[in-house]
């Protein structure tokens, strides 16, 4: 299960494990991340079996891969190393035939982000994807997922999450065989370590700074406030976003005294 820190992928893995246990199956949910880092990609692993799960290695060849994040869903890494005829379930705003992910795989999609925004008011997509998971894979029943959710989210929060689950159960697409068979050579590495300088954080952005050079007075407030030095200062005394360094935090837009920067949503996010 692929997601970002803060999207609830780890909780989702535990909900699935709990749902399986509700049906009398054994389960195991292993998170894999370094230190706590909001926004960075992370992966969780789930095993479900009729007998007690004993092995504790990571799941290197999954039957199913889920991805909670629409941008990470574009990365080939979520579709690599699956068993033959493996299944990939993605949170994206398009149908499976439009996915470029390659391999001997089947793809299904659901727009969990917009379901989450509708039912929860926030883009936390973990539960919104689980209904789709139940319908598309039949590994766990809808009622089991709902029971598990009630354990993690009591009261009204639980009801809202169940609404998200039911909606994605209805809206998930059918499985479509991937049109690409061969994976691209160049791939983004989703294993982001907890420390160190990173090569490219553009995949962290849900919003990006759109700069209006006419309004800009060249005060450099945005430039000096950026935590990542992700605004270069051009010869014409205006800023420009450094694509590989900007995480889309929005500080620059917030600080600009003349509102010359607007945070716009990234396409497909």
């Amino acid at each position: 299960m692929h997601g970002r820190g803060g999207q609830g992928a780890v909780t989702a893995s535990r909900i699935i494990a709990t749902a399986a246990y509700e049906e009398g199956k054994y389960s195991q949910a292993i998170p894999m991340y370094g230190t706590e880092r909001r926004g960075a990609p992370l992966t969780a692993y789930v095993r479900i079996d009729d007998v007690r799960v004993r092995e504790r290695e990571l799941v290197h060849n999954p039957d199913i891969s889920l991805c909670f994040d629409p941008l990470i869903s574009l990365q080939q890494a979520v579709a690599n190393d699956l068993k033959p005829k493996g299944k990939v379930l993605l949170n994206v705003p398009f149908t499976p035939d439009k996915s470029e992910l390659a391999g001997d795989i089947e793809i299904a999609t659901v727009n969990a982000t917009s379901i989450a925004l509708e039912t929860l008011g926030r883009p936390i997509t973990n539960t919104a994807l689980l209904g789709a998971f139940a319908k598309a894979t039949s590994i766990v029943k809808l009622e089991s997922v709902e029971k598990a959710i009630k354990k993690y989210f009591p009261g009204r929060l639980g009801d809202m999450n169940i609404a998200a689950v039911r909606k994605s159960y209805e809206l998930v697409s059918p499985w479509v065989t991937a049109k690409n068979k061969v994976a691209p050579k160049i791939q983004v590495d989703l294993n982001v370590g907890g420390y160190g300088a990173l090569k490219d954080v553009s995949s962290w952005r849900v919003f990006y700074p759109a700069i209006n050079e006419e309004k800009c007075i060249g005060c450099k407030t945005c430039w000096i406030s950026c935590p990542e030095a992700a605004l270069e200062w051009k010869a014409n005394n205006k800023p420009a976003m450094v694509d590989r360094a900007c995480k889309g935090c929005g500080v620059c837009a917030n600080e600009c005294p003349v509102k010359a920067i607007e945070m716009k949503r990234v396409e497909g996010a």
Partner: protein, 298 residues
């Protein structure tokens, strides 16, 4: 006191950070690192202990155990002297855990011995790297993962340790507080401290969007609110005797402007907010007095 005045136009363009780093979006500590190392130049050995990653910089780095910040800086500083390389500076960039709590003993001892070291602390007011547990730097009523709010608890029950005053009471050459919302003031202080001999400590408040629970776009705005409300006063103390308050607005903004946007304070009642307001106001009066007399009583 820091005498160099830096204008926006004079801020060095060169980056000493290897960006982007692995911090959360809008990280105050990343801002603190970028500004600090901009003015420290390359001729230093940077010391780190466990904390949030802020930024990798273009310097040789020495790591030590969590409680070893003061001691490792001491060893490097003494070692450099012993091998005749006092041109190289020993600089530590630590979090509040390594300064207020587990690292306190070693730093206090280094201060007491007046070791020739520069310590910069980026204070995000909890053990954020391990998920946000309370520290000695967590303010009263803040909710953290180890003092959650419930029928039996209102968040942290105790006030924040007064680290700048505590270290000033070691009579060391230079103590200062700084904020990422006042970048030129921060950099001026770092530049001033850089060339002083003896123990120097600069405490920078580094708002944390994840731990304090606010929109990451508001990091600088909140840091500014903290200074303008008197919650994070900017001042300098030399040798535990001379005192200067750097930022003196005619009137402080109400603390609620600082507390409200942070969900770690969202449970606070009006009475509790008033309590904080009263404490901040009283402390501000003491600081104004000290500034007037140009001295502190320690």
């Amino acid at each position: 006191m820091s005498t160099q005045r830096m204008t926006r136009a004079q801020v060095p363009m060169e980056e000493m950070i290897l960006a982007p780093g692995s911090t959360c979006q809008g990280c105050g500590a990343a801002m603190a690192a970028r500004l600090t190392f901009k003015v420290l130049g390359p001729n230093l050995i940077r010391h780190g202990i466990p904390c949030c990653p802020d930024h990798v910089t273009k310097h040789p780095r020495v790591g030590a155990v969590f409680e070893g910040g003061g001691a490792s800086l001491t060893g490097t500083s003494r070692g450099l002297k012993a091998i005749g390389r006092t041109d190289v500076k020993a600089v530590g960039f630590f979090g509040d855990g390594g300064t207020y709590d587990i690292g306190f003993q070693g730093l206090s001892a280094a201060a007491e011995r007046n070791e020739n070291i520069l310590v910069i602390t980026k204070d995000n007011e909890a053990y954020m790297n391990t998920g946000g547990q309370r520290s000695g730097g967590t303010p009263k009523y803040a909710e953290t993962t180890t003092n959650p709010v419930g029928p039996n608890s209102r968040g942290k029950n105790e006030p924040k340790k007064n680290i700048p005053m505590i270290f000033a009471a070691h009579y060391v050459p230079y103590i200062a507080t700084a904020s990422v919302a006042f970048p030129e003031d921060l950099m001026q202080k770092v530049m001033y401290a850089k060339d002083i001999e003896g123990f120097r400590l600069i405490l920078i408040q580094a708002p944390c969007p994840v731990g304090w629970r606010f929109d990451p776009a508001k990091t600088v705005e909140l840091a500014r609110a903290g200074v303008q409300a008197g919650v994070w006063p900017l001042y300098e103390i030399e040798h535990g005797t001379t005192f200067k308050l750097n930022y003196k607005p005619k009137e402080l903004k109400p603390v609620s402007e600082y507390l409200k946007p942070q969900s770690r304070f969202r449970h606070m009642t009006e009475i509790e907010v008033n309590e904080i307001q009263a404490n901040v106001a009283a402390n501000w009066q003491r600081l104004l007095k000290a500034d007037e007399m140009k001295t502190v009583v320690l």
